[in-house]
């Protein structure tokens, strides 16, 4: 538990660009205790201005390199950008730290780009409950562009779409039938498709494949573009940056941004509730009575949920 005075000091220092204070602030948020909630609640009123771009894709699709390149193209003069890289690697293998160092090196000369790796390992729902608070804090501090990078497996692509304004799905060239299943999930969340490593065989076929799947899907006001990039050489990154800007203009003009931000509010509230409930398992907090009532079957989870939400 960090004192409120110290939290205020961290906010001030981080807002004025002190990288060490920012790192410390993120550590507090990542730990997810009462201090994290105080920070997020303090900074939340000042947020809502940042554009959040989610980048997801299969392992090995080259997401990290692409994000690194994209940041340079998107961030305007005097703006600050943050990259949150959610790394499923275990600390045993050092994955998160290694990835962080590789990412850092590309922007080591640029103090306007803040990079933070979060390990998704750990306690129940660890990363899911910390990510919204981290985004809220960076937003409140004044970062105008926030990139959240996740490995697209299981539910994470849905999670990221709930937290982002624009979702980019990255697939490697040559992506085949074996991952048809994953495609279906990706199709629902992608605002922009990127076929990366486009200098490899099969890039055009992969792009055509995705295009065909979009063709047979339901008609939508925004048709996700399918772009080709070679992130390692920076090829196609300017077109991607343009697509992100175009999608942003579409969301604002169509009014869809409003419903997306509402969806994000619902997601963040769900995560906050989950965090609170998880904590109460081992404590004497008031929710503990409710859990007792469920365990002894005096009530059930659905009735309890409705009572919490609607009996005010």
């Amino acid at each position: 538990m960090v004192s409120v005075m110290e939290l205020n000091r961290l906010i001030d220092a981080a807002s004025s660009g002190d990288p060490r204070a920012l790192g410390r602030l993120c550590s507090v948020v990542e730990q997810g205790d009462a201090s994290a909630r105080i920070l997020a609640a303090k900074l939340y009123p000042f947020g809502g201005k940042a554009w959040t771009t989610g980048i997801t894709g299969a392992p090995g699709s080259g997401k990290s390199t692409l994000v690194s390149e994209l940041v340079g193209d998107i961030v305007g003069e005097g703006e600050r950008a943050a990259i949150l890289a959610i790394d499923p690697s275990s600390p045993l293998t050092g994955g998160a730290i290694l990835g962080d160092r590789i990412r850092m090196s590309a922007h080591s000369g640029n103090s306007n780009v803040f990079i933070r790796s979060l390990s998704s390992r750990g306690h129940l729902g660890g990363i899911s409950t910390a990510t919204p608070a981290m985004v809220a804090c960076l937003d409140g501090i004044g970062f105008s562009e926030i990139f959240v990078e996740t490995v697209g497996v299981g539910q994470s692509e849905v999670e990221i779409a709930s937290s982002a304004d624009t979702t980019i799905v990255v697939v490697p060239a040559g992506w085949g039938d074996a991952v048809q299943a994953a495609k279906a999930g990706f199709l629902e969340v992608a605002d922009i498709f990127v076929v990366n490593k486009a200098d490899r065989d099969g890039a055009d076929a992969t792009a055509a494949d995705i295009d065909a799947m979009l063709e047979i899907g339901p008609e939508t006001p925004w048709r996700p573009p399918v772009l080709l990039t070679v992130a390692l050489e920076g090829t196609g990154v300017d077109a991607l940056a343009a697509a992100v800007r175009e999608h942003r203009e579409f969301l604002v003009a169509s009014g869809e941004l409003k419903s997306r931000r509402r969806r994000r509010a619902a997601h963040d509230l769900s995560m906050a509730l989950r965090g609170s409930i998880d904590k109460s398992i081992d404590t004497d907090e008031p929710t503990a009575d409710l859990l007792d009532a469920i365990v002894t079957r005096r009530t059930d989870p659905w009735t309890a949920a409705d009572r919490l939400l609607y009996s005010r």
Copy 2:
């Protein structure tokens, strides 16, 4: 929306063993609307007696075959067992349906084994919100053994451990360094490790590898056994059934079952809240006001969550 009279009829018929009524009841639960909540709430008071075994593992580890074999060994005379197979395959590829048929065929002559595939594709948190209700219903109807099978990627292995009494992690023989990362997640949730396809090269090495990782981990009152099976031939399945029974006895005797059931109550409550909140995004339900307040930054998700949970 199904009428309450019809829901009562479904409960009666399903409880007395009518397979069609049971299938229909599960469909209502899977749809996740108000009828699903009524069903789950109605059946919840009668539950708490079933043993829930979660089986998770990498794709291709042979989970489905293993569960199929295990059911026969675990279910006692006159008992009823259910297998919920959560299938990440897209309906486009027919994965869920095909998997279902394969599983069904093994138990086609046995009316005491109920098998249901759930596609994890679909709307936000789709499967996560439906699974607890499905388990609660089957438990309340009188199934004494419930198996929940999921593909272990991303967060799903944590999800299943939150919903199960005993969690079995299945790894294929020859499992190598490439999945070290996943192992760390598995280590935290496994009550029993199974190295399946143990007639292949590398089975003993894989088992030794897991044993070594358990050795360097924190000491725990229950040391997960590492078992070898060849599910396709039924080899080692009796030892696995014995291990599940032993783990059950340990949980009961040590009092740990109590804290697990409490953890499950917390998980189910979180999922129920999430389901309610997600629904309220597009409706006029009371929570909608709260989402508005968050979107306009008059409050924040963490303060709102605390108010919901603690201001009663």
